[in-house]
């Protein structure tokens, strides 16, 4: 087993153990998407032109992606905590592969996200969401979702390593809740003014959400959309590849810098 894989696995274990020691935080982050599904689905859903059940089917993929985008916040917060509490420096004095610490963090995050997706989808089924396409397409949707989470976590880790303080990272992190608001995750963007719609459609969250809706068979690909939304699977893969290709090497370099 290579040094990177060994160190990465040990550090993945560290992150999972930290979460086990903070059950309150885990429960909060895992129940938030469910709460939002019920709140948006029944409160907003009642005011929209779409029938309630149809809106909730529309909303489940959107919330899955919005939650995955929270990897940005989680990654940033955890990395900033480690940097500003001295854990990063302790780890950097150890004979540990330079990429292992961020990789371990991103991998642990993936495990937690995958586990959290299950209860969310069960509640989704209860409120009327269904997989209306093939099982293979649905599996592909979940794969895309995890890939996006992984990419967002790397972006978060990079920002966390660059942060000035834990508080600054926390503030920037909580501002990321705005990102899904400017996308098609919660509402269709057709009614937006042209420029705003373009902005929303170039938001990676929109490409991912459209891809999931398409693969789950919940809603068709909208016509006349910007390229990433018009070709949602390819668009999603490109977004993820770009985020990882840019953020992961920079984060590792920032981590290793001396």
């Amino acid at each position: 087993m290579s040094a990177l894989a060994y160190d990465g696995t040990v550090l993945l274990g560290r992150q999972l153990r930290r979460l086990r020691n903070n059950p309150g935080l885990v429960i909060l982050t895992q129940t938030m998407p469910v709460t939002m599904l019920l709140f948006f689905g029944y409160v907003f859903g009642s005011a929209l032109a779409m029938p309630g059940e149809q809106y909730r089917s529309f909303l489940v993929p959107g919330l899955l992606v919005a939650t995955a985008a929270n990897g940005l916040m989680t990654g940033m917060f955890q990395a900033a905590q480690d940097v500003h509490r001295g854990v990063t420096d302790r780890l950097r004095t150890l004979p540990v592969s330079r990429a292992a610490v961020p990789l371990g963090q991103a991998a642990a995050d993936l495990v937690v996200t995958a586990a959290g997706t299950v209860p969310f989808l069960l509640v989704g089924l209860l409120v009327g969401w269904r997989v209306e396409g093939s099982a293979a397409a649905a599996a592909g949707a979940l794969g895309l979702l995890l890939l996006f989470r992984f990419a967002c976590t790397w972006a978060g880790i990079l920002l966390g390593l660059l942060s000035r303080s834990e508080e600054a990272a926390g503030q920037l992190g909580s501002a990321t809740f705005m990102l899904p608001l400017l996308s098609n995750a919660y509402i269709p963007v057709d009614g937006m003014p042209g420029w705003l719609r373009a902005l929303a459609e170039w938001n990676p969250i929109s490409a991912l959400t459209t891809a999931l809706r398409d693969l789950f068979g919940n809603a068709p690909v909208p016509s006349g959309a910007a390229w990433p939304v018009a070709h949602p699977v390819a668009g999603s893969l490109v977004w993820c590849a770009v985020l990882i290709a840019v953020c992961a090497p920079l984060a590792v370099r920032r981590y290793a810098r001396a």
Binding site: G86, V87, A258
Partner: protein, 319 residues
Amino acid sequence: MTSTYAVLSEGLEKRFGEVRALRGLDLAVAEGTVCGLLGPNGAGKTTAVRLLTTLLRPDTGSARVAGHDLVREAAEVRRRIGVTGQYASVDGDLTGRENLRLFARLHRVRGPAARADELLERFGLTEAADRPASTLSGGTRRRLDLAASLVRHPQVLFLDEPTTGLDPAGRARIWDAVRELKSQGTTVLLTTQYLEEADQLADDIALVDHGRVAHTGSPAELKAAVGAQAVAVVADADALPGAAAVLDRLTGARPSLDAERRTVAALTRDTTLTLPRLVRELDAAGVPLLDASIRPPTLDDVFLRLTDRAVAGTAEVAA
């Protein structure tokens, strides 16, 4: 030559923007000894330790730590050092036991669980073993930090202000641990603001000022170089000049007068000047003496004296 020094640095420089934190640090720490880096805040102690533990890369200069080049063989250096400092901390979300196991695994120690238990026992941490590190008291947390840097018997241990903020009991426990490590042959590089700490633990002291080593020597040499302070408190301000004249004659140094506290003080390097003699001489001169003492130099005394000399460029102190 390098084999006899656990740490050997030449001309280390580090600049942060406009600030020249290190301006040519030359340091030699013999194997198996404890070296104290002593100096005020901002002198460059912490930067020196961060460079020597591979956390920062020097702008210029070179160093070998545990027989390996700091920059070209950083991974080899990291295998052989332990670091405890306020910036190199354990994980507050993990328990003491989990932390030690984590660091043992990352150091590729065989039997990490057994090694963790051994260290918990040795540092009196068994009660804290299953509590998150963030909930531990300052002294306990510091012992855990120290234990975490020892999971794999380091050749060189770096301790950056290991007892700052600890109570006397906590300080004594860390000191005992450092002495034990030294007796086992570990080289220790320690930074401190406390002269007493360096005095208790260090074989050699390197006085750091303005980013370079201003002076090196054993604690005894250092104190002899500065001398003790002879102090007399008199009953009446009118008696100050008389007391000053006696101190001048006994110490050969110019006494400083504090009229408000009716105190005269002078530095002396004369080890034959004892308190009974000081009292007899003052009494014989008819000084109405209320209190007298010969007290060891404080860090302020040492620092002001030695750095002044260093700035003046005289080599007198090195004797």
